[in-house]
């Protein structure tokens, strides 16, 4: 068995040497979008957003955003993350509880985060929308500000 494993390592290593990645750009999490109005550009927003993610989101959604089955939803290519920006910002502001995503029920409780600044929310959502295999437009501070102003959180 050990011999076979060793042969596998050699074989994979040989493949790595003889093949080239089809798309070198795919190795990078995001490509700067010159049309984005985010402060300092989308790349700066993503960098700042990662710090917010580590502090505020990682504990439940996990380092690779794969979530916790039955409890905390993944943030990978779901319509919540990639779709309507207002709905996404409102999840951060108001929290979420008991949601069906695809065929899966998630029973975890996400606390509301109204204490986060508009900039932090814009940055973290821009980071999430451009990481973990996601690719979507930036969310700007102005957008967060407008959504927050129109937001009426459900009575607790």
């Amino acid at each position: 068995m050990k011999t076979i494993s060793f042969a596998c390592v050699i074989a994979v290593g040989a493949m790595a040497l003889t093949t080239r990645p089809a798309n070198p750009a795919a190795a990078w999490p995001a490509i700067p979008d010159p049309t984005s109005p985010a402060q300092g550009g989308i790349q700066a927003s993503i960098t700042r957003g990662k710090q917010v993610y580590l502090e505020q989101c990682l504990a439940c959604h996990q380092a690779d955003a794969s979530g916790v089955p039955n409890m905390n939803p993944p943030l990978i290519k779901t319509k919540y993350v990639l779709g309507d920006k207002a709905a996404l910002v409102k999840i951060v502001l108001n929290g979420m509880h008991g949601e069906k995503i695809g065929d899966d029920d998630y029973t975890g409780v996400m606390a509301p985060h109204p204490d986060l600044a508009d900039q932090q929310i814009a940055d973290v959502l821009t980071y999430v929308r451009n990481s973990f295999g996601n690719k979507a437009s930036a969310i700007t501070v102005a957008q967060v500000k407008a959504i927050r102003a129109a937001n009426k959180p459900a009575a607790q």
Binding site: M15, C60, A63, S66, P74, H97, D105, Q156
Partner: protein, 418 residues
């Protein structure tokens, strides 16, 4: 010597094909010397608890319907170790699965049903079970209803607290603990019912033990004639109270606790938790605790304390004769695997063993079956290949382990060969 270069280029691909052909589909479990795991099936996704009949027929409860069915009966009629007669029944999801005498007991997230079995452990009327318990709370969080029977015709059911720590707003920083915790009247404990009386529900006489946040793994210990349970301890000490716990401490605390219960046991949730490093009960921070202070009144102590967040989902006292002597009457515990240790590395995703003598743990716990996740890089709840959940003992003294991961679905049989 002349070697054709195109053959050289193809060589690594050829070796990979050979490797793939030689590797088993499921992650290889790591076991102590002399033990061997065989894969019974890889087709029981979201398998929770499991029961094995005296003739080797397997019953497994699923928490997601498979072809519209939530319970599967697996029978190996030709003795090749793989089930070849597979039938599904029960149109509800759930966790509990326990076999006693002529009846199979199964739980949804609100009810407990029982099915009459014939002498070959066929289900007599799979579409018409008897409803034994009805109307238990299901508010999503901690909604699974684990079940076990004693030898006197009583059924024990866990009703998990629909909360992390009974805060006014669940898991919200700064929200105070409710005093008294209103959850405890109908959840956060073990309820006891008659195993043969239909349609029982809440009532004063039925609460057996309280102050338990959520129990998934539990078993009746026939050596002590008492109920043993494994509590899932609270989450997020550092998230909610960074002034008292850093992320490293919060990954280890609080203990996942084993309790031996009696009628009237109170294990203290949500007012306290057990700190396995300070070896004492700690007042919960939502109730004025600071990480050091104990409660004014002591609650029942755990019989054993494990590291935090490992998520004990299955428990089995071993009464077989196949395994070596040290395993007799000891406890196996399936630790589903942590999520609330992030950003620290996750832990669990294994089955442990605790030796017992005279009804008490007789030595430290040890990892028995490991590598359910499929490697250290996959030890996260979303990316683990398998997550161990249910445990059962077969008639030959082998044990069975289920896997409730969404793309998992493996059932292993673990046997000992000298």
């Amino acid at each position: 010597m002349h070697i054709n270069r195109s053959i050289l280029k193809l060589l690594p691909y050829g070796i990979i094909v050979l490797c793939l052909a030689g590797l088993p589909a499921a992650a290889q479990l790591k076991l102590p010397a002399g033990f061997k795991a065989t894969v019974v099936t890889t087709d029981m996704q979201r398998a929770r608890h499991i029961a094995v009949a005296p003739n080797g027929v397997i019953f497994v409860k699923l928490e997601r319907l498979k072809n519209g069915k939530g319970i599967y009966r697996l029978q190996d009629t030709n003795g090749d170790g793989k089930p070849d007669k597979i039938t599904g029944f029960g149109n509800y999801v759930g966790t509990g699965m326990y076999l006693k005498g002529d009846y199979l007991y199964a739980s949804s997230n609100t009810d407990v049903y029982r099915y009459r079995l014939d002498k070959d452990y066929n289900v007599l009327d799979p579409d018409k079970p008897e409803r034994i318990v009805k109307g238990l709370l299901d508010r999503g969080e901690h909604n699974s209803k684990s079940i076990v029977l004693d030898n006197k015709g009583n059924l024990y059911v866990n009703i998990g607290a629909y909360s992390n720590a009974c805060q006014l707003s669940d898991r919200q920083k700064g929200s105070p603990g409710q005093m008294p915790c209103p959850i405890l009247d109908s959840a956060g404990g073990i309820w006891e019912f008659k195993a043969d009386v239909p349609d029982q529900t809440y009532g004063d006489d039925h609460r057996y033990a309280t102050g338990l946040r959520n129990v998934v793994g539990l078993d009746w210990n026939t050596a002590t004639n008492t109920l043993f349970v494994m509590q899932h301890g609270r989450d997020q000490l550092s998230d909610l109270f960074p002034q008292y716990w850093d992320k490293k401490q919060s990954a280890e605390l609080p203990a996942e606790c084993m309790y031996e219960l009696h009628k009237g046991s109170n294990c203290g949730y949500p007012y306290i938790f057990y700190d396995q490093i300070q070896h004492k009960q700690i007042l919960s921070p939502e109730y004025g605790g600071d990480g050091k202070k104990g409660p004014a009144k002591q609650y029942q102590d755990p019989i054993m304390a494990f590291p935090g967040h490992l998520a004990p989902n299955g428990m089995l006292f071993y009464t077989g004769n196949q395994f070596p002597e040290k395993y007799k009457n000891g406890a196996f515990i399936a630790f589903h695997g942590s999520w609330n240790r992030a950003p620290e590395p996750q832990e669990g995703y294994y089955v442990v063993f605790v030796p017992f003598k005279n009804g008490k743990p007789a030595g430290n716990w040890e990892i028995f079956a490991n590598n359910f996740a499929g490697g250290p890089d996959k030890m996260q709840p979303g990316s683990a290949e398998h997550r161990p959940c249910g445990l059962a003992q077969g008639p030959d003294g082998s044990i069975y382990v289920t896997d409730d991961q969404r793309n998992g679905g493996t059932i292993w049989k673990i046997s000992y060969h000298k």
